[in-house]
């Protein structure tokens, strides 16, 4: 079967991505009521003609808020997600409701690399878009290092394939390699392998931003 082969080489077919995406969104909503919902944005008719039996689209979550924690020393900045983040040492923090960044994330399928790709954009509370340096500066310290050290991915600015606007993305050229490693120990014949693919994938890319999947969601795919 095509899908078994797909998970073994670290890739995912377009159809399986769509199936997995819908399930992912449902589970996220079920286990993660704190954060905004993922929505499947259907683009099947974007060519201006009612597509026959073809589904095309992407996953979208808007307005995920990341609060900045600033110390009384102005030159120190960290970013944390709403889930959890431990300050390594005890310093007085000054936070206001406005002190944070708003992110939109889209999960878009790449036909070239046969993998999902994370697109994102960020803005400050006054609506000003963040540039790449500002985004990298505000990532959780661990992930910023992972990005600069690793050959698995990097942040780049490219045109969003559906929206015709510049967005940032985590480059997909290394995805199938690290997905192959992640799925190496897994049984390829399990029923929900597509779901498992997407959840495993997100548990890695989400870490770049400090987004963790709830334990129940990870448990649900074994």
């Amino acid at each position: 079967m095509v899908s078994i082969k797909a998970t073994c080489d670290g890739s995912l077919s377009s159809i399986n991505f769509q199936i997995a995406a819908i399930t992912f969104a449902e589970k996220w909503k079920k286990f993660n009521s704190d954060l905004p919902e993922w929505l499947w944005i259907d683009c099947s008719n974007r060519l201006g003609f009612a597509a026959h039996g073809v589904r095309d689209g992407y996953l979208s979550v808007q307005n995920v808020f990341f609060q900045i924690q600033r110390s009384l020393k102005e030159d120190y900045g960290e970013c944390s997600s709403l889930n959890d983040y431990e300050e390594p040492f005890d310093i007085a923090t000054l936070t206001t409701g406005d002190d944070g960044y708003w992110y939109d994330f889209h999960v878009v399928y790449s036909s070239s690399y046969s993998v999902p790709v994370l697109y994102f954009r960020a803005r400050s509370s006054d609506g000003q878009p963040l540039n790449k340096d500002e985004i990298e500066k505000n990532l959780p310290t661990g992930s910023a290092k992972v990005l600069t050290d690793s050959k698995w991915t990097f942040i780049t600015q490219e045109e969003h394939p559906y929206l015709n606007r510049p967005w940032y993305m985590l480059h997909p050229c290394g995805t199938s390699e690290w997905m192959k490693l992640i799925l190496a120990g897994e049984n390829p014949a399990i029923e929900n392998r597509n779901e498992q693919y997407l959840i495993s994938w997100f548990s890695v890319v989400g870490q770049v931003f400090g987004l963790k999947l709830p334990f129940e969601m990870l448990k649900s795919v074994g």
């Binding site: 080489d9 060519l47 009612a50 039996g53 600015q157 015709n164």
Partner: protein, 341 residues
């Protein structure tokens, strides 16, 4: 036979668009305003690479500040990472000679165009596309990533300066030879899985399906026009759909035409299409009167040519692809919108 391929490729590399470039009014600070620059832009090149030729024409007229070049055609900012020839084929239904463009050095529309900081950005975009093409063809971009730095520089320079011989010498090391093509007399130099040292017969036998990098720029229209001159012009990129999907090419002796390839990347329009011999349906489409729901290809252009749809796809790819190993296709399709959409 070899000569046939070289000729076609040389034609493509020699192709150029005559441009007449005007400095935008808002940036003219001298009286009289500078005359437009007339230059020949290589089809396979990219607009920002013309910057060094253009600046001397306009630098005196510019207001003080930092220059960031960008171009527009009739109000539409041009995507700089699309090859010049493709932009022309797509946006000028009726070819305009010279093509009148407006150049800006200020006010870069960063909400529409991704940033371009000069030659380096264009080079990066080119190498990135090449990596993507390699991944599509081989399942891995390693051979591009492992290019020596001097090779990478020389390859890029050969594209910038239109040096086909240098380009062929270096790019052949990447072993991105795509399809067995008996029509160009050009043998497939490598198995499509990029395995070095694999026995040749074994490799050819194993190669039954390939993925071909294709980028399709599609304009769906629902009005009819007989004359390309009457084609409405674009005021937004939202009117054009960008389809970046590889063609799944099955080489098992079947006659796979250009039309077959186009249909296979547009399942939205051609839901029943698959890799099959399509000689019959090709005739069908041309002879039968247009059905209401039947999409009709109004225009298909590759490298400024409007090829016959029955041409073998392998020939089209081997002869008309860009230096990034992508085949860029501009397409106007007329399709009736369904009621209620």
């Amino acid at each position: 036979m070899e000569r046939g391929v070289k000729e076609a490729q040389q034609y493509v590399w020699d192709g150029a668009i005559p441009l007449q470039i005007h400095l935008h009014d808002s940036e003219v600070t001298t009286l009289p305003p500078p005359s437009p620059a007339l230059i020949l832009a290589p089809r396979i090149g990219y607009l920002p690479l013309l910057s060094s030729q253009l600046k001397p024409f306009f630098s005196e007229a510019l207001p003080p500040g930092v220059d960031t070049i960008w171009f527009e055609y009739k109000g539409l900012p041009l995507k700089w990472y699309i090859p010049t020839g493709v932009l022309f084929d797509l946006l000028c239904a009726e070819p305009e000679r010279p093509w009148n463009l407006t150049v800006h050095f200020r006010g870069y529309p960063g909400n529409i165009l991704i940033p371009c900081d000069g030659e380096d950005s264009v080079k990066w975009s080119y190498i990135n596309s090449l990596k993507e093409a390699a991944y599509i063809i081989h399942g891995s971009s390693k051979n591009v990533m492992n290019m020596s730095h001097p090779d990478q520089v020389e390859l890029w320079r050969s594209v910038m300066n239109g040096k086909l011989e240098t380009y062929n010498r270096i790019s052949s090391k990447l072993k991105l030879g795509i399809i067995e093509d008996e029509f160009s007399g050009k043998p497939n130099p490598s198995p499509s899985k990029g395995q070095h040292g694999v026995d040749e017969t074994e490799a050819t036998a194993a190669v039954k399906a390939s993925r071909i990098p294709v980028r399709l720029y599609l304009w769906t229209i629902n009005e009819d026009f007989d004359d390309l001159e009457e084609a409405p012009h674009f005021d937004s990129w939202d009117q054009i759909s960008y389809i970046n999907r590889p063609v799944e090419f099955n080489t098992e002796g079947k006659y796979f035409t250009l039309l077959d390839a186009v249909k296979s990347v547009l399942p939205e329009f051609y839901p029943d299409s698959s890799n099959r011999t399509n000689a019959e349906s090709t005739n069908e489409e041309r002879i039968e009167p247009e059905k209401e729901s039947h999409p009709v290809i109004k225009l298909l252009r590759i490298q400024g040519i409007e090829p016959k749809m029955e041409i073998p796809f392998s020939w089209v790819v081997n002869n008309l692809m860009n230096p990034d190993y992508f085949l860029h296709i501009c397409l106007y399709i007329k399709a009736r919108k369904t009621i209620g959409t």
